[in-house]
Amino acid sequence: MMTQPTTALTAWKRNTRRHEWLVWLAWLVTISAFIVTWQIMNQNTLWFFLADAPEQIRDLGGRMFPPSWSYIHYLWGPLWDTLNIATLGTLIGIVIAVPVAFLAARNTTPSRRLVRPLALLVIVASRSINSLIWALLLVAILGPGLLAGVIAIALRSIGFVGKLMYEAIEEIDTAQVEAIEATGASLMQRLDYGIVPQILPTFFGVSVFRWDINIRESTILGLVGAGGIGLQLQAALNTLAWPRVTMIFVVILGTVVVSEWVSSQVRNAIR
């Protein structure tokens, strides 16, 4: 009985020769690109500036500490505005995103040729523009203030929520929908019983996650005049009031920690 082949005829390789060459080439390109870009990046670096960086950090750090604790009384108002921008913006975003998601999902869209590409365009357009850019545009159109911030957050949220939702709709178990259809249910009843229960966990998870992201994003919207705590941050930076800047950082950090905790609690609760 022969258990071991004596020749190399039975040698086995996972990848073909061609595939191995491609992998090798990909590595070569990646590493050369890294070297080239590293050089470009360092061309304009003034090394003597970098040399005293540790000293600069110590200096700035010294001026930033301790935070100006009494300044916190001026921050509650802007913080409340920030939370409102994030929450209202998320709600408006969701209200628009859900129908768009149903129009974009292959299995629920009324027309794959016309409606689906349009819905996808809405999602991509919303996603490709950062909320800070949306805010810049809206401040120019609507003037500075909370409204610009709310709408900027909403516009950015449509794409995020819409994309994750339509992917969830496309991944549902079709057997459940088929069973509901077999009972003689109408189109709306099929949505209500066959599809909605299956995507509900995703819906809540995505919404709360987006709200959490939006709280972080809305803290900087004030930099371009769209209201909230970012306005205070900009004012403090412009006047070189470093202890106030630190105080604002502390407040933002606390808010983000709390919102992250809320979001993870909600996501754990729905299964």
Binding site: D173, A179, E181, T183, G184, A185, M188, Q189, Y193, P197
Partner: protein
């Protein structure tokens, strides 16, 4: 009760799933549909309620023809046809009661189904059906909290809630262990007899089919190649349906449940869970 005339289904890919199927099922008759994978069993029962659109032919349910119906007329007729699925096809995240009541969707307006305000009669009947399939205490549990056998019982109760004139049953036991399979088959047969309900059951397990149904139809490559009593399933007929195989070696005698010897030990814990 159900009569298929020249029923044909050709898929877009050009695959001929069914060719000129002619058959009728009388009231109270339970038909076992057997055949190899890909013979067209699933396509056949899905053509009856038009989850799959037939390419040609007629489907008569009583005096009503189904193949030519418009969408809304089809919805009304689908209420008369209960369906039970292989993987249960329950809405997993809804409660048992909601699943049973979903059998009434064809009868109630949208706002009632949305707010779960079903007519009192529907709710009373739903409890009755749950009791009949042995799940009276599980009404408020979520469907995904139940065992396989229990879920299939919910599927049966949902089909009953439609007050159907016909049952279409697609591999009801394929995901169940031998003992639960027999219990489910027995329940289905009892219910059909109680109500004089005709049924078509797709089934892979030939001995199980022989033990429970009173007529067997054999399908091969989309054509009926056998139609007769379970006792007439000879080796020659099985070869005609499934192809050449040594049928004697593995086959138990009809009606003799040969897996039962080992089943109780294996399924003891499952049974306990089901109690």
């Amino acid at each position: 009760m159900l009569r298929l005339e020249q029923l044909t289904k050709v898929y877009k890919t050009g695959d001929k799933a069914l060719t000129d199927i002619n058959l009728s099922v009388e009231a109270g008759q339970v038909v076992g549909l057997i055949g190899p994978s890909g013979a067209g069993k699933s396509t056949l029962i899905r053509c009856v309620n038009r989850l799959v659109e037939p390419s040609a032919g007629k489907i008569w349910l009583g005096d009503q023809e189904l193949a030519g119906l418009s969408k809304s007329a089809l919805r009304r007729q689908r209420r008369r046809i209960g369906m039970i699925f292989q993987e249960y096809a329950l809405v997993e995240r809804l409660t048992v009661m909601e699943n049973v009541l979903s059998g009434r969707l064809g009868y109630v307006p949208f706002w009632r189904s949305l707010t779960r305000r079903y007519p009192a009669d529907d709710i009373e009947n739903a409890f009755r059906f749950l009791d009949r399939v042995g799940l009276a205490d599980h009404a408020d549990k979520r469907a995904d909290a139940l065992s396989g056998g229990q879920r299939q019982r919910v599927g049966i109760a949902r089909a009953l809630a439609q007050e159907p004139d016909l049952l279409l049953i697609d591999e009801p036991t394929a995901s169940l262990d031998p003992k639960t399979s027999r219990q489910i088959m027995r329940l289905i047969i009892e219910l059909c007899n109680e109500r004089g309900l005709p049924a078509i059951i797709n089934i892979h397990d030939v001995p199980l089919a022989q033990a429970f149904v009173n007529r067997i139809i054999g399908l091969n490559q989309g054509r009926v190649v056998f139609d007769g009593a379970p006792v007439d399933l000879s080796d020659e007929v099985l070869t005609r349906i499934y192809g050449e195989e040594d049928w004697v070696a593995l086959r138990g005698k009809p009606g003799q449940e040969n897996e039962d010897v080992e089943a109780p030990a294996l399924d003891a814990h499952r049974l306990e869970a089901a109690q």
